[in-house]
Subunit: 256 residues, 2 copies
Amino acid sequence: MKIGVFDSGVGGLTVLKAIRERFPSVDLLYLGDTARVPYGDKSSQTVIRYSLECAEFLYNEGVDLIVVACNTASSYALEALREHFSLPIFGVVEPGVKRALKSTVKGRVGVIGTKATISSGSYERMFREYGVEVFQKACPLFVPLVEEGIVEGEIAKRVVEHYLKELKSSGIDTLILGCTHYPLLKPIIEEYMGKGIDVVDSAECVAKELEPIVEEVGSSSLELYFTDRSPSLDFLVDFILGKPVEYKLLSLPCKV
Amino acid sequence: MKIGVFDSGVGGLTVLKAIRERFPSVDLLYLGDTARVPYGDKSSQTVIRYSLECAEFLYNEGVDLIVVACNTASSYALEALREHFSLPIFGVVEPGVKRALKSTVKGRVGVIGTKATISSGSYERMFREYGVEVFQKACPLFVPLVEEGIVEGEIAKRVVEHYLKELKSSGIDTLILGCTHYPLLKPIIEEYMGKGIDVVDSAECVAKELEPIVEEVGSSSLELYFTDRSPSLDFLVDFILGKPVEYKLLSLPCKV
């Protein structure tokens, strides 16, 4: 069994890592679109087009299912992906919502993410079906902070306060980290929000979602592809996966 | 006469504006690659490929010269552009260097820009020819700060201090803002650096460079193209140009 995972960049490697931990013997294929990162401040049309191109590459490589390890792509492109490809396709939004529904007692949940994810209303729509009140906030500086390695200290604290001040006083008891970069800020977000607020990493919950469908058969291979060797790529691959891993480069859209 | 200007996004509109002010009757054509912005943390190969695609569009539209209104593209792609297109091609690096050479008394100049611009060494090489000592610093958080509209206040001040602390004590008397986004932070950068340091906006100097070549003939037309209608595009076009301006969308690379 071969699982394909794609993301706008390197953040989705956290999802890949969680999948590997849960399913040690399947084959894994990852594509990070580093030549066009970030997706989070682009239009829905562009995010859908990029997502289709990423999925097409994975499809042509013969994967059995696709995990969209990017909240922005999961928010805008899932429907288009399911229309175009006759494969099971999983996003990161729904698993996070399910986990938050288990956690919340007050029925008040906060969601933070990129501009595109928040304005897509993807989380809001799902929670509304369950009668849960949602408080949303786009936090555009969180991704560049993480990519700069500023995940603690005075600047990080002030930026966290800048974005989360209103959420903190909104009476939520659960906060979803709706972007694969945000888990790296989890410690200072938890510290700022205080006790009694469950901070949910939506990426963490995805691997569990795959259980009913994944057969533990494969050669445990791992292939990484990126669309650009950006300056911090080697460092981030090593940092997230815990060791240096070889990768290949490709251009999208693929010339057929 | 028709002048083509391209940039990775909207920042280059500040250069376009300066060109319009100096040459009121020429025709202007602008292309902002908002579907792939930013260029500043991508590899040289990718920046060169994107720049060639932008220039190709302008070339096919019949421009008489091309202005690369992006420091990253100017740093990596000028040579490739000049090889591929038999048109005069102007970057933003050289005009900034010339202006700084006039300003510096001590022969110590600072340069700030994106990761890609700084690691390209484009400014450093030029200054070295003139025996000027250069102190460089990449400031990756400045672009997202500006795009978030955070150009004053405590967060902006701390981020400015974070990046410019060493430059401040390095004995420079001139500082080049080597990125089209940075002029919006000029007031707090000047405030932090203190008196006696001349802060140079390299984009400002480009229009002057064109004088020997530009003939003031044209219909004063202005056409804007972007590769993505990103969420903040309308706001930023209006904000930089001082009024709402219609634009068209296109995909790169252009299908011929």
